[in-house]
């Protein structure tokens, strides 16, 4: 999913927004109220942005740690001060990052 979003950010975003639009139209078609949905989304949205800002480094480092533990460092040469010479991706390779 992450790779899909990284490679096709705009189409992926468009699909997500279309799904949300479909959910809303379905609720409207059933005659359900949208008030709680909208209020909740409006509250969660800015809080979520802040949370993502705050935790983005930890999320990224966590992803690298999982990849390195699972797949190793790929035999690449790297200095001891560099924690991530590469990021690994299927089928064999590494993602060059640091």
């Amino acid at each position: 999913m992450n790779r899909l979003f990284l490679k096709y950010p705009y189409p992926t975003s468009a699909v997500i927004l279309l799904i949300f639009a479909w959910v809303v139209t379905q609720r409207l078609a059933r005659g359900d109220s949208l008030v709680l949905l909208v209020v909740t989304a409006v509250i969660v949205w800015p809080i979520g942005v802040f949370v993502f800002f705050y935790f983005w480094p930890q999320i990224t480092v966590g992803g690298f740690k999982r990849a390195i533990v699972k797949r190793g460092l790929g035999g690449a040469r790297f200095p001891s001060t560099s924690c991530t010479p590469c990021r690994i991706a299927p089928p064999s390779p590494l993602r060059a990052a640091a």
Partner: protein
């Protein structure tokens, strides 16, 4: 309890949380991209971010630079340049062959080592017949008679100077040049990476 959960499921609150969180993620990506772009310097098609990894960057810049250059060292430890376009501003593509020409004495100055890596546009290495995705100062690069060094960037092996060949993915790709313990010229900003030139 059951009645409450049933109401919660049908009230739209759960959907609101999901939609709010997803919109937050998309907004975050958008904002971090804009901030990272503002922090990026591009010369000859090579982009670099000097502030990456610096303590005191602040919440927003820290996150943005972590997205642009994940888990990097501070600039004093390692300098990073990325290029997804050639010197003419055209996107790098494995359909073409490129040359990176370092004039004599113009390889990245360093006190450790440098390396040049070819990846797909996301940053993942792609398998290739040569079994390597990078060249570095220990790759046995062959210098030209005048002391300059040409690195050939193309998917297929070149006719000669295979030591100087960096296999590239067949589709669009990007390059990452790294210099560990960068030299004075990099630190003071006087060093520019030469442009990648399309040759075929």
């Amino acid at each position: 309890m059951g009645a409450f959960l049933s109401w919660l499921a049908s009230s739209g609150v759960v959907q609101g949380v999901i939609i709010g969180a997803a919109l937050a993620f998309l907004t975050t990506i958008l904002i971090l991209g804009v901030v990272a772009k503002a922090e990026t310097t591009t010369v000859n098609g090579w982009s670099s971010i000097r502030r990456a990894g610096q303590p005191g960057n602040g919440l927003l810049v820290r996150a943005a630079l972590q997205k642009a250059l994940p888990v990097v060292n501070v600039f004093e430890e390692a300098a990073y340049w990325t290029a997804s376009v050639d010197g003419a501003g055209k996107k790098l593509n494995g359909e073409h062959a490129y040359r990176l020409h370092f004039p004599p004495g113009h390889l990245p100055p360093h006190d450790a080592f440098w390396s040049l890596t070819a990846t797909d546009t996301i940053g993942y290495m792609v398998s290739n017949p040569a079994g390597r995705s990078s060249v570095d100062d220990h790759s046995g690069l062959v210098s030209n008679p005048d002391g300059s060094v040409d690195i050939l960037l193309q998917p297929q092996a070149p006719g000669g100077q295979a030591q100087n060949w960096l296999p590239t993915p067949t589709g669009r790709f990007k390059l990452m040049l790294r210099a560990y313990l960068p030299g004075v010229d990099i630190m003071n900003g006087s060093y520019d990476v030469p442009p990648v030139v399309m040759v075929a």
